[in-house]
């Protein structure tokens, strides 16, 4: 009895350590045998205590930052707006080239009965906290079970892949996201040009390494690494990062270091991929839009003939061969005149493809001085007579405007 009293502290220490080691052994065993470990009650309590504080702090920080940047610090916004408009125009031309390539790829995929994966729904979420441990590279986001988040959903940013949802909590509604640079993470990856596949893994020091690539492969530094879609979590073709260093690894494999495209140490907002559709590729039936068509849309308009002007002055009617300007309250897309109407008036103008019409609408909505364009049967762009403006004619709504929000 005296011995027990004398060594009481040591006995309690050994008891507490033994209990924890036993618990640890049970968890390790469960992890090895089961596919998914059940969420422990203690984790729910801990997350319930910590994440509400994090959410409140992030909300306060974001709100004050928004008030400052949206209402007070507006220096350079107009210049930025002009730059963005120019960028949109450049990207419209680029889109034409890419859509032609994509259409060709879709036709080939349709011939092969190829099934594609599409990200059909995403949810924006804010990163509110981390794990506080260098050996556990996870972050918490402010969306959880009640928002439709489920385990194993992919998490991305505009720059690239971030990770996958590991655990989802109901109260508070939050989720734990495993980053791709954690050592327990694994992503099916493919090199962009060489199409060599491998497995992307994190290391203890937080680096990302592409494994299982044979040493006889040639992998240049700087090559893009994309998701292969083979892991069942990430859809195929998402950017993961770029190869930074290639060195001989263990056995017959290369040791390829990859710099993640998304800055994993400074995550603020992410997108959770909540729905991925898989469907067979179908070639675009509407036909490709040529760069010349887009340029033609931006040419100055020619004044219309007087009789057209009389017809167009009647409210609710549109001059044949023209595209009606958008009415207030409706969306910015103008309606194309029907082919029958064009034929009846003797105009050879044909109806423009749907995607072209939408870009015409964008053009008339974003920049002044542009005019709607009709297209002849052979696809050449034609500038239609410009409708005479009347008192009842509504003005197109600008699509981009400086808003305080």
């Amino acid at each position: 009895m005296d011995v027990l009293g004398r060594y009481r502290n040591l006995i309690v220490l050994v008891g507490v350590l033994f209990a924890q080691i036993l618990g640890l052994a049970v968890q390790v065993n469960v992890k090895r045998t089961a596919d998914s470990e059940p969420t422990r009650l203690i984790r729910i309590w801990a997350v319930g205590m910590i994440t509400p504080l994090e959410k409140a702090l992030v909300w306060a920080q974001t709100s004050s930052s928004n008030v400052w940047h949206d209402y007070f610090y507006l220096r350079g916004v107009r210049a930025e707006n002009r730059g963005l408009k120019q960028q949109i125009e450049r990207m419209s031309l680029e889109r034409v080239r890419i859509s032609q390539d994509a259409d060709q790829a879709r036709r080939l995929q349709a011939l092969l009965a190829f099934k594609e994966q599409f990200i059909s729904a995403t949810m924006a979420a804010q990163v509110i906290g981390g794990s506080g441990s260098e050996l556990s590279r996870v972050v918490f986001i402010d969306k959880g079970y009640n928002d439709g988040i489920r385990p194993d959903m992919a998490v991305i940013t505009a720059d690239g892949v971030v990770g996958k949802v590991l655990e989802v909590y109901r109260v508070p509604s939050t989720s734990k996201v495993l980053l791709i640079n954690d050592q327990s993470s694994g992503v099916g990856a493919i090199l962009d040009k060489t199409r060599t596949q491998g497995i992307l893994r994190g290391t203890a020091s937080g680096e990302v390494v592409l494994e299982k690539v044979m040493s006889d492969e040639t992998v240049p530094a700087g090559e893009m690494v994309l998701t292969s879609g083979g892991d069942g979590v990430f859809p195929k073709g998402l950017l993961v990062g770029r190869v930074t260093k290639v060195a001989p690894g263990s056995e017959l494999f290369l040791n390829i270091h990859v710099r993640p495209a998304a800055d994993l140490s400074r995550l603020e907002e992410v997108l959770v991929v909540t729905k991925i559709d898989e469907r067979q590729a179908e070639p675009d039936q509407t036909g490709a839009v040529r760069a010349v068509d887009i340029l033609a849309e931006r040419l100055p308009a020619v004044p219309s003939k007087p009789e057209d002007a009389v017809k167009s002055s009647v409210p609710g009617t549109v001059a044949p061969g023209t595209i009606a300007p958008p009415s207030p309250g409706s969306d910015a897309k103008p309606k194309a005149a029907s082919p029958e109407a064009s034929t009846a008036s003797g105009s050879p103008a044909a109806r423009k493809p749907a995607n072209s019409a939408s870009s015409a609408g964008t053009g008339s909505g974003t920049s002044s001085g542009t005019s709607p364009v009709t297209r002849t049967a052979n696809g050449a762009a034609k500038i239609p007579p410009k409708p005479v403006k009347t008192a009842t004619e509504p003005k197109p709504q600008p699509a981009v405007e400086d808003s305080p929000h």
Partner: protein, 172 residues
């Protein structure tokens, strides 16, 4: 009679109010999870460890020290995706050791606190490394330069944390 290296006044045992006992460890775990996302360099620090050492040396009770360390460690574990108990075991050992040493050493001076923090930082890392690698099978590499600089940084912050705890501790 146990031989101690402290003066009569230095063996004074302190206690903390219930709000301080609950809120300070909670704040430490919260800041450890939140700050590295905003300030990435902060991940080198280990606030829960510093608070455990601070509480243990002030209370000078091995039992209180080991239970404080155990609870703070388990709370820290719960936020990670690793098995629960890694930090728990490491901080249990640190809590017990710091309170046991606090009885025998003068821990009221900044220099002693600085050295004590470096020592227990290394102890913490060794225990964590052993359990994580040996039992859980995590791939880890031991780096003495990293541990040395981390220990130094934590010891500097530790002196400040001790000063904060001095303000809230009460004489028994």
């Amino acid at each position: 009679m146990a031989i101690t290296y402290t003066s009569g006044e230095q063996v004074e045992v302190y206690r903390f109010s219930i709000p301080a006992t609950i809120l300070i460890p909670l704040a430490a775990v919260f800041l450890q999870a939140w700050l590295p996302l905003r300030l990435p360099f902060f991940s080198i620090f280990d606030l829960p460890l510093l608070v455990t050492i601070g509480f243990a040396t002030a209370r000078r009770s091995p039992l209180a020290g080991l239970f404080t360390g155990s609870l703070i460690g388990i709370l820290q574990d719960a936020l990670t995706h690793q098995a629960i108990g890694l930090y728990g075991i490491a901080l249990t050992v640190v809590g017990f050791g710091a309170s046991s040493l606090g009885i025998k050493l003068d821990v009221e001076h900044a220099g002693a606190r600085f050295l004590l923090t470096i020592f227990f930082y290394i102890v913490h890392e060794v225990v964590y490394f052993t359990i994580a690698r040996g039992m859980v099978g995590l791939r880890m590499a031991w780096s003495w330069p990293h541990e040395f600089w981390s220990g130094l940084a934590n010891a500097l912050l530790g002196v400040l944390v001790f000063m904060v705890l001095d303000r809230v501790k009460q004489r028994t």
